[in-house]
Symmetry: C2
Subunit: 154 residues, 2 copies
């Protein structure tokens, strides 16, 4: 099994270190999966980032959430949440309003349409991930999760 990445990218020499090999495997695996997830989301006209924001906002109901807080909860960092939300608002998936108590803050909430879309996506996405990882086995999955969390813990 090991050395699979080298074959995939047709590299002649072995990797300089196991750390590098692990890192590149990480990149490759994420890229592979993301492409499939993006393809699944595409017919619905939204990106993985948007999906992530919608999930966060659903969890924040009924209070809504400040822009900055949304950014800090996102799986992958986005340096300009404002315009991300601009686009989502233009599509009717979220609404925003100034907080009265602290007028610096803008509270974002998910709309009915956003909730509907999220619900519509849930099943296809679960199914896709189930398919993509069906050969891995629950024990290995848990171990993978452990190792990834360990890697981030540095």
């Amino acid at each position: 099994m090991s050395g699979r990445l080298r074959r995939e990218i047709k590299q002649r020499k072995p990797f300089r270190s196991p750390q590098l090999e692990a890192y590149l495997n990480l990149l490759k695996t994420t890229d592979t999966f993301q492409q499939k997830v993006a393809a699944e989301l595409k017919p619905y006209g939204i990106s993985e980032t948007w999906y992530n924001v919608l999930r966060i906002l659903r969890g924040a109901e009924p209070d809504g959430m400040a822009c900055r807080e949304i950014g800090s909860r996102m799986i992958t960092r986005d340096p300009d949440v404002t315009r991300l939300l601009d686009r989502m608002e233009a599509r009717g998936l979220i609404t925003r309003r100034r907080e009265e108590k602290d007028r610096r803050v803008v509270i974002t909430r998910i709309t009915k349409e956003g909730l509907r879309l999220l619900k519509e996506l849930e099943l296809p996405l679960d199914r896709l991930l189930g398919k993509l990882l069906s050969h891995v086995g629950i024990q290995n999955l848990r171990q993978l999760i452990e190792l990834l969390e360990l890697a981030r813990a540095g």
Copy 2:
């Protein structure tokens, strides 16, 4: 250790499935590491994608490589290699020329400057990855590599 991701993104409910948890951990881990690598590369004015292309082209010396082949070897897919190479050519890191035998093909080669830059980057990057993963241990690293390759094998 497990449940770390949920705390990181401050999610209340558990994940719907271990597959989803594994996938999101993958995204989060890659994002975390990529940010640090990008920060390391930034002073040199190049992105991870560029670095990857330079490494591929160094491995292709002295023959050079066709555009399409470069694309297929990249760790993360890029849908427009042409303009990626345009930019790298403008910075003097690569050169291109039409292949005479098959005039559809454009052969790209790394320049002296590209090689120099690559060499300059190697040590800092190795050091960074070594630091980021120093707490993981070689046995766990190998296991992580195995599991990632297994995950992609579906």
